[in-house]
Symmetry: C2
Subunit: 161 residues, 2 copies
Amino acid sequence: MREPKLHEALDSLSFLVGTWRGTGRGHYPTIKDFTYEEETRFWHTGRPFLFYMQRTWAPHSGDAMHTEMGYWRPKAEGNIEAVLSHSFGIVEIDEGKIEGRKISLESTSLTSTPTAETVEALARVFEESDDVLTYELRMAFGENELQPHLGAELKRVTGRD
Amino acid sequence: MREPKLHEALDSLSFLVGTWRGTGRGHYPTIKDFTYEEETRFWHTGRPFLFYMQRTWAPHSGDAMHTEMGYWRPKAEGNIEAVLSHSFGIVEIDEGKIEGRKISLESTSLTSTPTAETVEALARVFEESDDVLTYELRMAFGENELQPHLGAELKRVTGRD
């Protein structure tokens, strides 16, 4: 396949394209605090959506932890939708907003496989500045209201190619 | 990250790990018949699920067509679950069976973003023999009952590494 041109619908998200790596930390009432290493990639094939893949691993052992992937679909007037699947057995639909280099996504649907845990809600805010991408993720799980769960700071390791 | 060992839960799916390429054809009452080129990859990070990514493109122009990705989660007694997202704006939960080198997956949940079309049901059967992977996908869409939509024959282009 030839190298595709970025679709104009992705102009507002072009700053995301590439590979990002860094460190995050997690906390939640039901678990011990933890840290993780992360790689997140955004890429495209010339169509009006971004491919998104995130994976995390334990800082010392290198053992794989979480992974999620899917597609980010920018729409008119700064709106955005995302369709995601998570390795632990849930799928997610998000709606949100693109405001400059800040993107917010809030789940409108989370569905679990029969063996997976149920997550009530997820909300993410991504911000990019000077080739640093940070995000904060809030989660509602079980009886726990939507509250901070994950945050990470990632640095660009490859550009749009 | 070090090279992970295949998780024992993936033993029954280890024959899938690698990259597969080939040609498919599509038909449905609502559209013209078409053909496509496809690449499908299965990989792992040492945990008890396979990463799955499929993308297709037009045979002559090379223009990207469909793509879907997610995780295949084998369970006890030959059962399997999958969590998938599709670029056109749906997420999918499947349940199915692993029977030797035949894997069947049937959707139990399909959810669309506000701007995406609704798909009523998807059912896939994959079979592998002598480094050839074939699948047939049936779809129920609109008023149309579950019926053949896609089929492809893919050859192994890389192995488990």
